[in-house]
């Protein structure tokens, strides 16, 4: 894998390629449309590279399994769609608590419930942040093309390892199933991050959940002699619950802080703005493609429009959007749902820019024409 190779791949397959490139050596999961191809790809590729694949009895088990593997030292990933993502929520919260790096892919189909299993949606955007009970940090990324899927899968692993947190990769069915040409860079051109591990000599004075300066405690593999404890209960630096109020606050502040102190590193977005925009289309996932197309179209007609592509959905790009709202008149948020991330945009815009949505929730796509119409609609 030391030479670039060009392939025609589906987004789901690009997750597999990205995972393998990032050093994934463990997959556990349960099949579900439209994410099954990810499991199938790993089932084939992992053992061929000395890694492990296991199909579990359900999604709950798949999530538990990758957290166990992660603690044992693996770079672990699972993939599912809405119904399975709902089932994973409890163990996802556990992973956040014990700070187990891992990647959870959700190839979104139309919900709620069984919904439209083979149609695209961006309906689980808010669930990615709020699906598990209690406050908690989360990182969620969403690609808009097959090669971005590869890239963001690598990024997902890197962020997971760096910040000791599960990272959610939100594809939509379109990105998951569409085929595009993708050039996979040679292994040595990729930046791969691995979790920080404690030194063997630190064994005697080791606190697995210590408040280190960067708030991210080093993480030993099981079986390397650290003999430490992890729990879903609130705990202090030793990993054990003491039942003290201060511990709870300290833990939550650290868990949030390790993410919030590094927003620049975590929030990835792209934009095409000239600085004089009247209207900006802010989109993510496959919808970005129509946004770009529409903006290019209206610009030719002299309309001052621009686009923003969010690659990181959570944490939300508060600062960026706040500044954007101060500069432009209107922000359009096209979404394949009834209006989810638009709530965040409205919150942050705080009345400084008008915010309108374009929404489809019937399994069909938002077209460039839809976006053009909305751009022109209020001019």
């Amino acid at each position: 894998m030391s030479k670039a190779k060009t392939l025609l791949l589906q987004g789901d397959e690009a997750v597999v390629e990205g995972g393998m490139a990032a050093g994934a050596d463990f997959f556990a999961g349960y099949p579900i449309t439209p994410a099954s191809e990810i499991a199938e790809g790993f089932a084939e590729q992992l053992p061929a590279n000395g890694g492990k694949f296991i199909q579990m009895e359900d999604e709950i088990a798949g999530m538990g399994c990758i957290v166990g593997a992660s603690l044992a030292g693996a770079k672990a990933i699972t993939a599912t769609s809405g119904p399975g993502f709902s089932l994973k929520q409890e163990n996802l919260g556990f992973a956040i608590m014990v700070e187990a790096p891992c990647v959870v892919v959700n190839v979104q189909r139309v919900g709620p419930s069984t919904g439209l299993p083979t149609s695209p949606s961006q309906g689980d955007i808010m669930q990615a942040k709020w699906g598990t009970h209690g406050d908690h940090p989360i990182i969620a990324l969403s690609p808009s093309s097959v090669s971005e899927t590869f890239d963001l899968t690598v990024t997902a692993f890197n962020l997971a390892e760096k910040y000791r947190i599960p990272v959610i990769l939100l594809l939509d069915e379109i990105v998951g199933h569409m085929r595009e040409k993708i050039t996979i860079p040679p292994a040595d051109e990729l930046e791969i991050v691995n979790r920080k591990k404690p030194k063997p000599e630190d064994k005697d004075n080791f606190y697995p959940y210590e408040e280190t300066e960067d708030l991210i405690p080093p993480m030993p593999d099981y079986g390397t002699g650290f003999k430490y404890h992890s729990t879903g209960l609130f705990h202090d630096k030793t990993g054990f619950p003491r039942g003290k109020t201060e511990d709870a606050k300290k833990l939550m502040d650290r868990l949030m802080g390790k993410i919030n102190n590094n927003l620049d590193d975590i929030i990835h977005l792209e934009d095409d703005l000239n600085g004089d925009e009247d209207v900006v289309v802010l989109a993510y996932g496959s919808t970005v493609r129509s946004a770009i197309s529409a903006v290019n179209q209206v610009r030719e007609e002299g309309i001052k429009a621009g686009w923003v592509k969010l690659k990181t959905i959570w944490p939300f790009a508060d600062d960026y959007v706040r500044k954007l709202a101060e500069k432009v008149d209107r922000i359009i948020v096209p979404e394949l749902n009834m209006g989810q991330l638009i709530g965040e945009v409205e919150r942050v815009a705080a009345g400084k820019a008008e915010v309108t949505g374009i929404n489809r929730y019937d399994g069909t796509l938002i077209t460039p024409a839809d976006v053009v119409a909305e751009i022109k609609g209020a001019l």
């Binding site: 050596d25 463990f26 556990a28 053992p47 061929a48 590279n49 000395g50 492990k52 296991i54 579990m56 009895e57 359900d58 709950i60 088990a61 798949g62 999530m63 538990g64 399994c65 990758i66 957290v67 166990g68 593997a69 992660s70 603690l71 044992a72 030292g73 693996a74 672990a76 409890e90 163990n91 556990f94 014990v98 593999d221 099981y222 079986g223 390397t224 002699g225 650290f226 003999k227 430490y228 404890h229 992890s230 729990t231 879903g232 209960l233 054990f240």
Partner: protein
């Protein structure tokens, strides 16, 4: 006993939080003694437990330990074992944790015959949450959620594990610590999925409510109802009525899951390099 059990206990976490007379401590004691006798490497051992009084066991044990969500210990354990088959992986669970919410993982882990040793603390009740009935609460007994008597049948967990594919199945009891130590030791040394049910008393939330009494009375009850497996096998069904057999109830040797997977890896990688 000539073992330094201190080595396996996190001294600073003791005394444990279990109630006076709770049998969980006896099971824990049997486990550490069994572990010592097994000769397994403490540093290469991971103990995983779910939620419940029994789930607290992992916190007292001086290994890599993981205290997970309710009912899911086996799923995490499977991940640990798959990721690093060199580790000894032990699951500690309760009758609620392991047989109610966690029942599916129990049968599927059995089916896979993955090399994990399960110690299930069966106190016939949900202890930690204050005495609701469990799938192991005998029919007719009262619990906070069966104030008029439990109408559910209960499982024979050993049968269940066996019929799901476990290759080592045994039952121990807090009244028979010596036998339990031996049983757990054999389970630890068994290559494949080893399921060990241990009968343990919850005087607070089961014994007192069901007129059996406190810890001492509950041990007397065990004394009256336990039969060694060998003897049990020879009894006819009527004689067996109400009696419980202890010991190794079933053991066969079958290829283990992570070994099989390693074989797949070897084959595929060999195949690839031959190309």
């Amino acid at each position: 006993m000539d073992v330094n059990i201190d080595k396996y206990l996190r001294q600073d976490k003791m005394p444990h939080i279990w109630c006076p007379g709770c049998g969980h401590g006896t099971v824990l004691g049997s486990f550490v003694r069994a572990f010592d006798q097994s000769g397994l490497d403490q540093e290469k051992t991971v103990v995983i437990s779910g939620i419940g009084c029994s789930g607290r066991a992992s916190g007292y044990l001086n290994f890599d330990t993981l205290h997970v969500t309710h009912g899911r210990a086996l799923t995490f354990a499977t991940g640990v074992k798959m990721a690093n088959p060199e580790l000894n992986v032990i699951v500690m669970t309760g009758d609620g944790d392991g047989a109610a919410i966690g029942g599916n993982h129990l049968i599927h882990s059995s089916r896979r015959n993955i090399d994990i040793t399960v110690v299930l603390f069966n106190n016939n009740i949900y202890g930690m949450t204050g005495g609701q009935f469990s799938p192991m609460t005998p029919t007719g007994d009262t619990a906070t959620t069966s104030p008029y008597g439990n109408i559910d049948q209960n499982f024979d967990l050993c049968e269940l594990a066996k019929s799901s594919g476990a290759t080592f199945v045994g039952r121990g009891a807090s009244y028979q610590p010596r036998k339990m130590i031996k049983l757990i030791k054999e389970g630890l040394l068994h290559k494949g999925f080893a399921f060990i049910e241990t009968l343990t008393q919850c005087p607070v939330n089961y014994g007192k409510r069901n007129m059996i009494g406190g810890a001492r009375d509950m041990l007397k009850w065990q004394d009256e109802h336990l039969v060694p497996d060998k003897k049990y096998e020879k009894m006819d069904p009527e004689e067996r009525e109400g009696l419980i057999s202890t010991g190794v109830l079933y053991q066969v040797s079958k290829e283990e899951y992570t070994d099989k997977y390693q074989q797949v890896i070897n084959n595929v990688m060999a195949g690839e390099s031959n190309e």
